[in-house]
């Protein structure tokens, strides 16, 4: 099949945090307009809008959100086709894939991909219950399994099988807060110590408050364009060179191995195969770190480190900024923030900035290839995208 290559010509994101003064539509519009402004495109250039959103229906009692964001973004006269994509925390990573395919196939030339979530209009307990709805409600949640509890059970088993320690888990949070301190859009821009993580109140043992990403509001957006036309809009197009999207059993107890996410392993293999790259080519990666254990499993499942060595590698600084591989330079979900539906696109925004050399104080030197890894639920879905400089 003849497929066209896809470039990213503009990125935009909002501040991440508890943004009481901003509504869901404010956030979606802000990110989208910034990306359009950066790409120097007008409304009439846009062929379609794809929006990743986990659960606006539950968080703000609003469905039909893709058409809503197009409406309020000044795109109504274009009468655009809009698509809202659902897939737990992976929704906007899936939206990026779907949007890229619409260009690769030749149907569209320029497409906006957004991701947005407004989580703080509900209280903590309700927000966590909504997050839990991406797990198996009938065979996990009903029995008292919380979202954090399921990840905590992965952590406990990982510690048992691989010797991973509480300190190694905590090292993920310390590193990501340090990176977040260099990101002006991050929810948390303060460094924390290992002791802070270890002494924090328990959420689901062995995980404490500082092992968990926060509840956040925020949005991010990308402008995609066929690679052959990208040069008309930018001197630094970033190409999307490979995607892997995979699913697995929804319930953790059904998985082949509780300390491995097969969806991540397979999505990673598919993305590397499509791009003709290997994990060694990747200098900068944004991986799903909704909990500290998640990042440890992700860097193993993506083959950046051998199975079982994720905790040790993190503790030894191998994933710190400008070390062997720079992981979660934005601060990750942990420090940049975790507006669920925005995740995949926000990760892509960071990788595009890094590959363009616009990383500021957190710039990774010599980054040519970057990766994003995004999960839905507890690993029932995983999406991996690979990006490369287009010049």
């Amino acid at each position: 099949m003849n497929v066209r290559r896809v470039s990213i010509i503009g990125v935009g994101e909002t501040q991440f945090g508890e943004l009481w003064e901003k509504s869901f539509r404010d956030l979606g519009i802000e990110a989208g307009l910034r990306a359009m402004q950066e790409a120097k495109i007008a409304a009439e250039n846009v062929d379609a809008l794809y929006l990743g959103n986990m659960s606006a229906g539950k968080f703000i009692d609003q469905e039909h959100v893709a058409a809503l964001v197009a409406d309020y973004s000044g795109l109504v006269d274009q009468h655009l086709p809009t698509v809202r994509v659902e897939g737990g925390g992976a929704c906007s990573a899936i939206a990026l894939h779907q949007a890229a395919m619409s260009i690769a196939s030749g149907v569209h030339d320029i497409v906006i991909v957004g991701g947005a979530e407004k989580m703080t209009d509900v209280g903590d307990v309700e927000a966590n219950a909504i997050l839990s709805s991406t797990t198996d409600q009938e065979w996990e949640s009903v029995f008292g399994a919380t979202f954090a509890g399921l990840y905590a059970m992965m952590a406990r088993r990982h510690m048992f099988e691989h010797g991973t320690t509480r300190e190694q888990l905590a090292a993920v949070a310390v590193k990501n807060h340090r990176n977040g301190s260099m990101n002006p859009n991050a929810q948390f821009q303060k460094e924390i110590t290992l002791e802070t993580v270890l002494q924090a109140p328990r959420v689901a043992e062995p995980l404490g408050v500082f092992d968990c990403a926060p509840l956040s509001d925020g949005a991010a957006a990308l402008v995609l364009c066929s690679a052959e036309k990208a040069r008309k809009f930018t001197d630094t197009p970033i190409n999307l060179i490979g995607t892997g999207h995979a699913t697995d059993f929804l319930a953790v107890h059904d998985r082949r191995d509780i300390t491995t996410m097969d969806a991540s392993v397979i999505a990673g293999k598919r993305a590397f195969h499509a791009a003709g790259k290997t994990p060694n080519d990747v200098k900068v990666a944004e991986v799903h770190d909704n909990f500290t254990i998640t990042e440890i499993m992700a860097i193993e499942d993506l083959r950046f480190v051998p199975k079982g060595k994720g905790g040790y590698a993190t503790e030894d600084g191998e994933t710190a900024l400008n070390a062997r591989i720079s992981v979660n330079t934005s601060g990750g979900l942990k420090a940049r923030g975790y507006p669920v539906g925005a995740t995949g696109v926000a990760q892509a925004v960071e990788i595009v900035r890094q590959l363009r050399g616009e990383g500021g104080r957190r710039q990774v030197s010599g980054a040519e290839v970057g990766l994003t890894h995004t999960l839905g639920g507890t690993g029932g879905t995983a999406v991996v995208h690979l990006f490369e400089r287009g010049d």
Partner: protein, 107 residues
């Protein structure tokens, strides 16, 4: 073997349609992993902290539920447990009460 019962076997696919058989589990197994839950959903607020676990039944399938009738500190990976019939929750104060299985240390 799968739990819960499935209409289609995840390994053999279409061939299994209409050929799945019901098997009664012994109710005995061992703890694969566990967590002590401190941040609980609304319906479980009264129980916290409680122990959540994944248990591998002797027949091979795995299930998720709570471990009861022992101190949280006593729970270990590999510990032998058996199912117990318990109240899981209710739909509001006057709603339907849900019953199901939890695990307790094996007798």
């Amino acid at each position: 073997m799968d739990f819960p019962p499935r209409a289609v076997c995840p390994r053999c696919g279409r061939k299994s349609l209409g050929n799945m058989e019901r098997v009664k589990l012994s109710g005995r197994g061992q703890v694969v992993t566990y967590s002590i839950i401190h941040d609980a959903p609304k319906d479980f607020e009264m129980m916290k902290p409680y122990v959540l676990a994944i248990v591998q039944m002797d027949e091979g399938v795995r299930m998720t539920s709570q471990i009861i009738d022992c101190e949280a500190a006593e729970v270990k990976i590999g510990m032998r447990v058996e199912t117990a019939f318990r109240r899981l929750g209710a739909e509001g104060e006057a709603g339907i009460i849900h019953y199901g299985y939890k695990f307790r240390p094996a007798m």
